[in-house]
Subunit: 364 residues, 2 copies
């Protein structure tokens, strides 16, 4: 039997009834247009088929699927926004094709197998408030063997960054405030500014070296237990001498059909990103890759077109000066908070030049 719906869930679902959030997501053109393009690119697998849209929101992706010729789309959302989705579907004369189900994927009933799952489930830092668990549930309950999941893969990256402007703006600022030395504020300012991860936009110039993969997810095979806690070891070699202020995290998702082997796609991707090293970001640099055999990618990297996800930054309280080629290594663990299961704990260990540090933070 499914886990019960907690108070946290209720507050979360209610918050998604606020239209501003949906407005922001829909207005994120990189997001919405890439999804539409992915649907059109897989039209041959959608036409005449049954689709589930997990966390449908206002229903826009479900309508795209109907426009692509889906026989039936089940648009599922636990939030009150489902009431609106139903109105939108009706106003577009699609009530016979798009069936809005107001409830959790664990609780609603769909009396047939489905060919396609589509979902825009990604949260900040990929996994924060993500709906991937609901996608897994939907897959295990309804997806036909060999069915299509869009997106098919997701990858979370991390890289060390230097961001002196941000540091001076909030911290060094206190050294001279209208001529007054207020540096006594700096310790508290660091705590307030850098205790929690920060969702903000950085540029490629802030990044000190190539990113490493924290977690690669194949949506066909990922198990819910894998998401309870994600740990990755990393080892970076700084490409320049700079003060290092912390680590940036970002992700991309791929939209590839079930025919292409995930292993092959992944390996092709890493080769591409290393060999086309004009940029640190390889594939992430272009939303659509030039090679037509490659999958469509929605990237939230610092060099991709900006999205509402921006990047997630874990700042150190104090910068570390790194030399060119200096090694920074350690590990990161992302896990569900016990305080509130929608919060994410970030446990970061890092060593550089013989010194070791630990930074604990919570994304609330």
């Amino acid at each position: 039997s499914p886990p019960p719906c907690t108070d946290f869930d209720v507050a979360y679902f209610h918050s998604y009834a606020h239209v501003g959030i949906h407005e922001e997501m829909i207005k994120d053109r990189a997001r919405t247009e890439t999804y539409r393009e992915a649907i059109m690119q897989h039209q041959n697998l959608i036409q005449g088929k049954v689709v589930v849209d997990v966390g449908c929101g206002t229903g826009i992706l479900s309508i795209f699927c109907a426009q692509a010729g889906a026989k039936r789309v089940y648009a599922v959302d636990a939030s009150d926004i489902a009431v609106q989705a139903k109105e939108v579907v009706k106003a577009n004369g699609l009530s016979d094709k798009v069936i809005v189900l107001h409830g959790r994927v664990e609780d609603v009933e769909i009396d047939e197998e489905v060919d396609v799952i589509i979902s825009e489930w990604m949260g900040y830092m990929l996994l924060y408030e993500s709906m991937l668990g609901s996608v897994i549930t939907a897959r295990d309950r309804w997806l036909k063997p060999g069915g299509l999941i869009l997106p098919s893969h997701a990858t979370l990256y991390m890289a060390p960054i230097s961001h002196p402007d941000r540091y001076s703006h909030s911290i060094d600022f206190w050294r001279n405030v209208y001529g007054i030395d207020m540096s006594a504020m700096m310790q508290l300012a660091k705590q307030c500014a850098f205790e929690e991860p920060s969702v903000e936009s950085i540029s490629g110039e802030n990044v000190l070296t190539w990113p490493e993969v924290v977690k690669h997810i194949d949506c066909q095979t990922i198990k819910i237990q894998e998401l309870d806690s994600v740990t990755a070891r990393y080892k970076f070699k700084s490409m320049m001498r700079a003060p290092m202020h912390g680590f940036a995290f970002w992700f991309d998702v791929e939209f590839s059909g079930p025919a292409s082997s995930p292993a092959k796609t992944t390996s092709a991707t890493s080769v591409a990103s290393v060999s086309s090293s004009m940029s640190l970001f390889g594939e992430g640099n272009q939303k659509k890759r030039s090679n037509p055999s490659d999958a469509l990618v929605l990237s939230t990297s610092p060099e991709a077109p900006p999205t509402h996800w921006q990047q997630a930054i874990v700042y150190f309280y104090d910068p570390i000066d790194v030399e060119q080629d200096q090694v920074i290594e350690g590990s990161v663990t992302l896990s569900q908070s016990k305080e509130n299961r929608r919060f994410m704990n970030i446990h970061l260990e890092y060593s550089s030049a013989g010194r070791s540090f630990v930074k604990e933070s919570v994304m609330r």
Copy 2:
């Protein structure tokens, strides 16, 4: 005996320990530099005198007063930021001059009369989360007869506005979303966008006619009971034909010495703002007026340099088309919420072209 400190107070005081808020306020140059200028302009009344800074925050205004030659400054703040203020004062070698008192003005003890009260007490829409009540308490407990209060006066204004861009951005947007008619979202979008007052920056071009005064406050004479509920009737005549989207509220504060009669200052002000009608905003247009006998003014009007207060807008759910010279009249009542005494209820009645409306909203 003073009213007890409620849970709401505790949460409020705690929130002010967050450095970001103080950083934003200090970086508001119009605010901080006008206060510094007001202190320097009244240096003859501060030199060798005793000052109380109500809600001192990081202590910056207290230090300005010490720099202006104050004999002693009591810097009072109930928030934990007072701990920081003490450190800042100490680091500047001013611990013998600036005495930081961590507590509410109702609770702390000052064993002498004071010559000057300075306070940056103004909240959004002047009265939201304002500390004016604390200024009144400090005045009644400690200020010598004829003492200086900076600022000396405050005035809340309102004016009808037209803001088609804002309306189309959040509401009309839904008419055509990537080719899909999502106008079924519009009713909820209006509710979400316009139910509560919105703090945002508008420009002078959005304003349909001269502002009217909602409340004028003389800090020497205002009584705390007057703030429980503020009601004003208004009557505007639109200077143009336009869709009217709501009302904007903003304020200014004056820094005038106790010598100048408040009545005289106020009347001079209104004459000036009407006669110099190149702008709709008269005095608000320039931070410092050219006439040296006039008081220094910190204005948050749409035509003044931007401040962190911006303007507070109460939007209608649907615009009203007004003709040139059409009369818009009604009343506004601002009152403390019973739900949380730091919330403010805004009850707005308006009639135009024979139709009457009521809009209730809460600033949380």
